[in-house]
Amino acid sequence: MITVIIALAIAQQSSFFARTFPNPTGRNGWEEYLMAADIGRAGNMGALLVGDSKISRLENDRKMVSSLSKAIEFVRVGNKKAATYPFLGGDDFMDPMVELSHIKLLGQVLSADVFANAADGKPTASSQSISDALILGRRVGEGQRISGLISVAMQGIALRALSLNLHRLDEKSLADLAEQFGRIAREPSPLVEGYFGDFKRWYEIVPHILRDPESVSFEEEVPEQILNLSATEIEAATQEALRSMAEIDKRAREMFQREERFWLEPNLEHENAATAFILSNLPTAMTSPIVRNKTQLRLAEMHCRVMLHKRQHNDFPASLSDLDGQVKNYDPTTGGPYFYERISDQSYVLYSLGTAETGRIDLIYFPDRYRQ
């Protein structure tokens, strides 16, 4: 009996869900996500993702989807609920990396479901999984900047699944996805929100960095000469840093609001060494991943509309202006149109020229390609 109790306690302790939600409400989608992550971990999700080289990728994906169908169901249920990011708050930043790494794997499982359903001639189910993978990926990014990077990777996986199965989607799925991608691209980016979320927390930390760094778990070593400053000097440097932060914050918000062509990282230099030290530790805006992500979402909408035209007219549009005015051919990264060319009866190219920092932006991100 005691052994069973201990085993249950250990199981509960190691459960992402039980650890994060000791008092579940049933109203936060993250409860389902973490239950799905628990199922994935118990089902050896990582090994399934590596796959068996003796069988095709499709068979591997089918195997994985079949083994983890319950986890997929949980994600779907979670996506239908509101979601409050659970790894924030408290005295210190929780370290959700293990949980998030498993959530990221769930994105890959959903991607496998996209391929399996498409191959089985079920485009509606396939597009549903694209949508679910995207929602999950974006919600991951609502946390901190580090989760923002995971979010970008997860959205990239969903977009890759879309790209490789776009030709297999039906008229209605394409129309629905186009609408969804268009709406999401216009919404505030969770990555931007994550950036400002980090910034907000830094307003609370900054007043303590120079006075008592350990009290706010500030791990960077404060230079000796700064620690030796007088209380007045520290107060002045801190206030100067807070004013600079407010300015950076304001400019960054304006920049993201305007979606400028040239996304500039804020200037963190300052003549006061102590102020400069504080500013050098501020979160950077990750503008390249943010620009790429937003542009990819816009491209996803355009791709769906191009393919929808193909489904209705049995031909790719000669130019994007043939898309019945459903979408504006304006690429905010360049201030001009997207590059589109009909290559043959079966193929076309569509991409953004991107910025100097991002280089060409395709629906699928190839880190080693198109670098300028």
């Binding site: 499709l58 498409a118 031909d315």
Partner: protein
């Protein structure tokens, strides 16, 4: 008028052959030729939906007929009149619409089934003499083009069926088309008016052509070789010209049917492995005896046969200029 001609050809009792089903189908679409003519611009899907909604039941008859044996010239004379061929052509258009509609509706496996029915039907129509060969080839070519335009929409089950599709040996329509022509020529040409020597020469020549055609079709060689090296008798000049064009058309369709299976194999590889194959092993191109040309770039590929002088390049999605 055509509808009555088609219905008049249907046997009064339930027949075990496909002919009656095809004729019933032709009767359904007989008055819809204008509506069933595919549009070249605009919303093809809208046109497809209207066409299949109004005339779709005709395709059920064709499908049923495809399951039964097809008896050429059953209860038919050789007077050269085939009023049902206009309807058959419309049925080919209707199949195109159905394939496209299935793809738009997310039913790629049903699209593959409709395509197979269209090709089976077209292949059988090819048997009905020279005109039938032209109409049947159009049905096949247009539906293959529809497949090619939407080839990446097809998925595992349908592609697997298409890789195994064999309509060249199982439906010997080219030989039947030639035989009908030989039969018709021998029967109706003014052979009776020829002198006994000339008549013997002409009949011998027809027989040599027939044997040569059979051997040619069996060997599937690229170039037409007549049954005899001697110049054709004057009375047969028209026949030889007709046969030469029919042969080229037959070669194009046979090559395209092989391109279909080869393309389906490539697409099936893509569906299963998320990438195109590096090489294809489809070596028998009946037009050249060499492998098909296969080239790829990123996620797109091209494949075609170089063809022969009489055909030019043969591609799955390009309609052949039949009477070049």
């Amino acid at each position: 008028m055509t509808i009555f001609l088609c219905l008049a050809l249907i046997a009064p009792t339930q027949a075990a052959s496909a002919n009656d089903d095809y004729l019933r189908a032709a009767a359904i679409v007989a008055n819809g030729s204008a509506e069933l003519k595919p549009i070249v611009e605009g919303n093809v899907l809208e046109w497809s939906r209207k066409a299949t909604e109004k005339y779709g039941s005709a395709l059920d008859w064709v499908k049923a007929g495809n399951q039964k044996p097809f008896v050429l010239l059953e209860r038919r004379s050789l007077n050269g009149e085939f009023p049902e061929l206009a309807g058959f052509r419309s049925l080919g258009f209707l199949f195109e619409a159905k394939v496209f509609e299935h793809i738009a509706d997310g039913k790629p496996n049903q699209a593959a089934n409709a395509l197979i029915d269209a090709l089976t039907f077209g292949r059988r129509v090819q048997s009905i003499g020279t005109i039938g060969h032209i109409v049947g080839s159009q049905i096949i070519e247009r539906n293959l083009r529809m497949f090619d335009l939407n080839r990446r929409a097809f998925v595992e089950e349908g592609l697997e069926k298409l890789t195994k599709l064999e309509l060249i040996q199982s439906i010997p329509s080219d030989k039947m088309a030639f035989d009908v022509e030989f039969l018709a020529f021998g029967k109706y040409n003014e052979i009776e008016r020829l002198s006994p020597t000339e008549r013997t020469e002409v009949l011998a020549r027809i027989e040599a052509l027939k044997r040569g055609t059979e051997a040619q079709l069996a060997r599937e060689e690229a170039y037409w070789k007549w049954g005899s090296e001697d110049p054709a008798p004057e009375a047969l000049a028209g026949l030889e010209v007709a046969l030469e064009v029919t042969w080229a058309r037959a070669l194009v369709i046979r090559t395209k049917l092989r391109l279909l299976t080869a393309t389906s194999k490539i697409l099936l590889h893509d569906v299963r492995n998320y990438k195109l194959p590096d090489v294809i092993t489809e070596v028998h191109d009946p037009a050249t005896g060499k492998p098909f040309f296969f080239g790829k770039r990123d996620d797109a590929f091209v494949m075609y046969s170089e063809g022969v002088e009489k055909t030019g390049r043969i591609e799955l999605g390009t309609l052949w200029n039949r009477e070049r």
